[in-house]
Amino acid sequence: MDLPHHGYRSTKQRSRGGPPSSDSVLFDDTSSTAPMNSQGYYTPGYSMGGPSADMQGGPGGNNLFTDPMANAAMMYGSSLANQGKDMVNKEISRFMSVNKLKYFFAVDTKYVMKKLMILMFPYTHQDWEVRYHRDSPLTPRQDVNAPDLYIPTMAFITYILLAGMALGIQKRFSPEVLGLCASTALVWIIIEVLVMLLSLYLLTVHSDLSTFDLVAYSGYKYVGMIFTVLCGLLFGSDGYYVALAWSSCALMFFIVRSLKMKIIPSTDSMGTGGAKPQFRLYITVATAVFQPIIIYWLTSHLVR
């Protein structure tokens, strides 16, 4: 008989159990009435049912998909899931625009490599301007100076894993400590972003730094933290302090150069600012000085 491939598998397994004579009848029913996806459900159910010796699953599964009530219920369920997905998307897009978030994750490998190089050694990078394309900033794929959220997110997660490993090496590990470390780091990010936003608002510095930009810039320090912790683990206490000094200087230079472009107006148009230029300088320098303090605070307990 000219059965399809999955039909061959099903009859081979069902021949151990149920009556072989009704195979072809039941099977022809399913393949004629059911759409493509129920055949898709059918096949994994059979191939997974075999090794677990679930012989009763065969006739039961067959009955489920020939039953029109089950079909209708499945389609209703999928339409309900679609409605739920649309509703969730609509609610989330009321709080933060997903398109803006997608801009920050449009990265590729070349950008990530170059950005990591700049974060660790920013002294040779010449051009720090964020390039625009008809009033909208270029995506990180096309402009290496654009802030992204991919590197901070990955660096944050790597930092948590590395903290767990460092504590495990010193035999001080427990799962609660990992959660505590993660939430501490997250709270420091939130505090820093809030303080930056507050100071930018109070000193009426009109810059085009959005909240996500600030989150991105304050998340870049995790790359420095990872480097510091790794050197501390590999080379001991001396390596830790050397790496701390190196990554602090590199990060301070990077932050000052990047934020200078955005906060301090490069042209001498004093009317658009609204804030005295020394306040802008103070904000930039204070942000830069805050980074090594936080790096030291969050990593010193990992490397004794």
Partner: protein
């Protein structure tokens, strides 16, 4: 200084409560921080004091009702669970 998310929520509630209890006519006007003393210059440079006063007034207006709800919920939860 190990922070948990619970600490952050607690800090946020306490700070917002602290801003919300500053009474307008009993306290803020007495120290020269009333709403009529904020708007000084009409240029495009409000100054730090005007921004701070603006912030206090807007926090008090916006967060009054949510703070009532959040405070009641946290009182009940703290009574029940300690």
């Amino acid at each position: 200084m190990a922070f948990t998310l619970y600490t952050l929520i607690q800090t946020a509630i306490l700070c917002t409560n602290a801003i919300a209890v500053l009474h307008e006519e009993r306290f803020l006007s007495k120290i020269g921080w009333g709403v009529d003393q904020g708007v000084g210059g009409f240029g495009d440079d409000p100054g730090v004091k005007a921004q701070v006063l603006n912030l206090i007034r807007s926090v008090r207006t916006v967060m009054r009702v949510p703070l009532i709800i959040v405070n009641s919920v946290s009182i009940v939860l703290l009574l029940l669970f300690g």
